[in-house]
């Protein structure tokens, strides 16, 4: 099996796991981890594309590598925001479920 093919399959597997995880898990932290798995899969595919698209004599096409760095930064920021929201939610509500609480007349603004 060639290198790019192996990484292509690994990336696809990660993407599949990520989509499955987001769909099936109810807890936001698990959803977040699944999102990161999905992201890693996509970033791996960027690497594969860079390798495949390289001109003769070059190790890789630099453009996808430049793109993937931005992608990683974006995914990192998204994760950071989500964690911040989660920890706020934990301290406000005492739990981090996304399910709505039973209607509480006082909480309504």
């Amino acid at each position: 099996m060639s290198g790019p093919l192996l990484f292509w399959l690994a990336g696809s597997a990660l993407i599949g796991l990520g989509v499955y995880g987001i769909t099936v898990n109810r807890h936001p932290l698990r959803k977040l981890l699944a999102l990161n798995l999905l992201g890693s899969g996509v970033f791996l595919l960027f690497g594969v594309i860079a390798r495949r698209g390289a001109a003769a004599g070059l190790g890789g096409d630099p453009v996808p590598q430049a793109l993937v760095i931005t992608g990683i930064v974006v995914a990192f920021s998204a994760t950071a925001i989500a964690i911040a929201l989660l920890s706020q939610l934990q301290s406000k509500a005492g739990r981090t479920s996304l399910d709505d609480e039973p209607p509480d007349e006082e909480d309504r603004s």
């Binding site: 999102l35 594309i49 996808p64 931005t70 992608g71 920021s77 998204a78 925001i81 939610l89 603004s109």
Partner: protein, 503 residues
Amino acid sequence: MMPLQSLAAAAPTPDGYLLVLAIILPATAIVALVGLGGRGAAGIVLATLAAQLIIAIRVLSLVWQSGAPVVYVIGGWDPPLGIALRADGISAVMMLTSAVIFSAAAAFAWKDYRPPRWSPETRGSLVFWSALLAMASALNTLFTSADLFNLYVALELLTFAAIPVVSLKGSAETLRAALRYLIFAVFGSMLYLLGIVLLYGAYGTLDVSSLAELIRPNAATLVAAALVTVGLLAKTALFPFHLWLPPAHAGAPAAGSAVLSALVVKGSLFLLMRLWFDTFPSLRDPAAMQILAALGAAAVIVGSVMAIRQARLKLLVAYSTVAQIGYMFFVFTLVPVLPGESWIAASAWTGGWLQIVSHAFAKAAMFLAAGLVAEALGHDRIRDLAGLGKQLPLIVLTFAMSGISLMGLPPSGGFSAKFMLLVAATAEGHWLWATVIIGGGLLAGIYIFGVLARMLAAMPDGTAVAEIGRGRQLITFALAGVALLLGFLPLEPMALLQIGRMP
């Protein structure tokens, strides 16, 4: 990598620097805001939004006069390696719409978020103004970028700027709404990014106009197009991805809700229209486009029925956004795939954009009005709105005016938009979609008149109504007025919206 011959679309125009300013000015202002603290906010925000308006008007008049897009090639690096900024007719219209609504929202939020001169500044106000400017910058990037990856970055900036606005109140309810929004949005952008990587692998470029020439309907391209589309649908909150929208938009402060509902959801929709009509026109399989229209129809019906069932005004207005977004998806099927009856295509195209713009104004006005109602009464329970017509007649009038546009009654932008979509639907024999367009108007009538009937009922004894300043009422009224005035535009396809279209 494939050779790229014709890149005429990316020749820079003399005034292209305006597009850079439209993006970089608000971004710089955020840095200044953080540096100088919330107390400098007043001057900075005012100056930036005024500059935004001037730039948007200038870009629109340039595009209008020259009949060609305004283009800037960043750093002089030609696409496909470099990135081009390009404002065609639809970009210019959206830039102006967004500049006007941002200015109105900022003026509206002035009272709540302006830090008093001698009191310690609050973090809420700094966050609000930074997020507002960040959204303005991200939207301008989205409207002008001609590179799919740059568009991805713009989408993410927009989401990250919108999240703090949703959770600004900091209650558990809004934090939950923000988290749900973030998960949907990031999931959507990951799918978009996956589509992008497949496109780059197949064609070696992400420049919108180069791709349009290279693209062939093969398996890899179709999968990429499907991934990009589903990702953007999740961000646009089209049915069945609409679940995150109502709590997120209803939980934000009024000025934030107005911007989120009027502009931020349109960002990903704008990109979807740009992709399907400028980059993938050769992929537009009628059956696939019918799926988008069917989802749009489902959104119109589900959104309206849910709006009718709401007990709180802000949630009702938010569900109405779900419904109104649905209309915009009829454009995908109503603009014929084959260049045939060109007036039908032009009518559907104009109707779709007019729907986007008039919904932006009407919905901004309606959310601001709902915010004022909540402030005056201390709650927004629809069943307890009685007596408002006597106490705050201008707010009720504003609500009614924006409602007219959402229902699609003449004279209003909403009427012209829906009428043009209806004409295109009947001319092409899409009777089902024509029925949904009319039925959606009736359902909107039910929820709008339901609210108005409560507002105009006699005031029960012992209701306290807080004083609301005249200024904010007039801002809200003016936005609703624009939504109605758009109905006086001539009922014909507009040449401006065709400027710079690729095919």
